[in-house]
Symmetry: C2
Subunit: 129 residues, 2 copies
DNA sequence: CTGTTTGTACGATACCCATCGTAGTACGGC
DNA sequence: GCCGTACTACGATGGGTATCGTACAAACAG
C-alpha cells in the first residue's frame, strides 16, 4: 500500500465533509519541501532505521504500538516525529491509534533509488552483525 | 583513481621501508568497521555533502585547500575528520598538503548503490534549488 | 635557516538531540 | 458517564556537534 501525503493529511480545502475524518491534523512537509540532509539525518539514527525497516517490510501502515523499540514511549514519539517532519513517513490518526507509512512514492520521485539503497544497506549490515 | 584504506594508511607491519613514506598516520576504520548510521550521519551535513560531491566529480584525490567552503579552516578540518572517521573518505599526507578521496570501492562493497544514490539525490536537489 | 603554505590542536560557545518520567488528552467500548 | 488504550506535551538532563579564533606544527622553496 502506498500512501501519499495529500491522501493522508487532507488540505484545508477538503476538510470535514467526508465521514472518515477523525481528529487532529499532523504537519507534513510537501514533497517539494523535503530536503536530502533532513532525510539522511532522520535515517542516521539506529532506532529510526529500525522503524523504517519495519515499515518497509510490511509495506502497509503500522501503529506506533506495533514497534518493539528498546526505548520509552516518549522517545518513540520523538523518533516518529523526526521521521514525519523530515518527510520519510506519513502519519494519520485512526481512532486511538496513529498509523504510519513510508512516503515511498514521494521519496522515489525526489531521490530515485535512495530509499531502496538505504534499506538494502541496513539489511546487509544487520545480516553481518 | 580508486584508493583503498590499506594503500593509504599502511599497517604497522609494513612501515618505513619504502621511500614514499612521508609522515604521520591517519586513523581510518577498516572496511568491516564502517557503520551505516555513521555514514548517513556524515552525509547529512550540507558542508560535508558539498565535499563529497566535489570528490565524486573529480574522481581523483583533492587537497583540503581545493575546497571553497563558506566556513573557517578549523571547521573544514573538522568536517574532513568526520568523513574520514565514518569511512566515507581516505586521507593521506603528501608534503604540506593532505589529499582526500572517496572510499568508493569499500562503500560499494558494503552498501551497493548507496553512494551513487546519495550523490544523484544531491545533484537533483541542487538542480532544483 | 627563514619564510610561506597547509593543515592541526585547543578552548570556547551556542545549539541540537536522544533519552527519560510524569502528567495529560483523545478516542472507543461498556 | 467512566475506564482503558494509545499517544502527546513538557521539562530536565547529559552528551554531541558545528562554529569560531588563536596558536602551533610539518613540509618545502629559497
Amino acid at each position: 500500500m502506498r500512501v501519499s501525503v495529500d491522501e493522508a493529511a487532507p488540505r484545508e480545502t477538503t476538510v470535514a465533509t467526508a465521514a472518515a475524518h477523525t481528529s487532529r491534523e499532523l504537519a507534513h512537509p510537501d514533497r517539494a519541501e523535503i530536503r536530502l540532509e533532513n532525510v539522511l539525518h532522520a535515517l542516521s539514527d539506529p532506532m529510526r532505521l529500525l522503524i523504517v525497516r519495519d515499515l518497509a517490510r510490511t509495506d502497509d501502515e503500522l501503529a506506533c504500538s506495533a514497534f518493539e523499540l528498546p526505548v520509552s514511549k516518549s522517545t518513540t514519539t520523538h523518533h516518529f516525529r523526526v521521521l514525519r517532519e523530515s518527510g520519510v513517513i506519513v502519519q494519520v490518526y485512526r481512532g486511538t491509534a496513529k498509523k504510519s507509512a513510508l512516503r515511498s512514492d514521494d521519496l522515489e520521485e525526489l531521490f530515485p533509488g535512495l530509499l531502496e539503497a538505504v534499506l538494502a544497506a541496513a539489511e546487509a549490515q544487520a545480516a553481518r552483525d
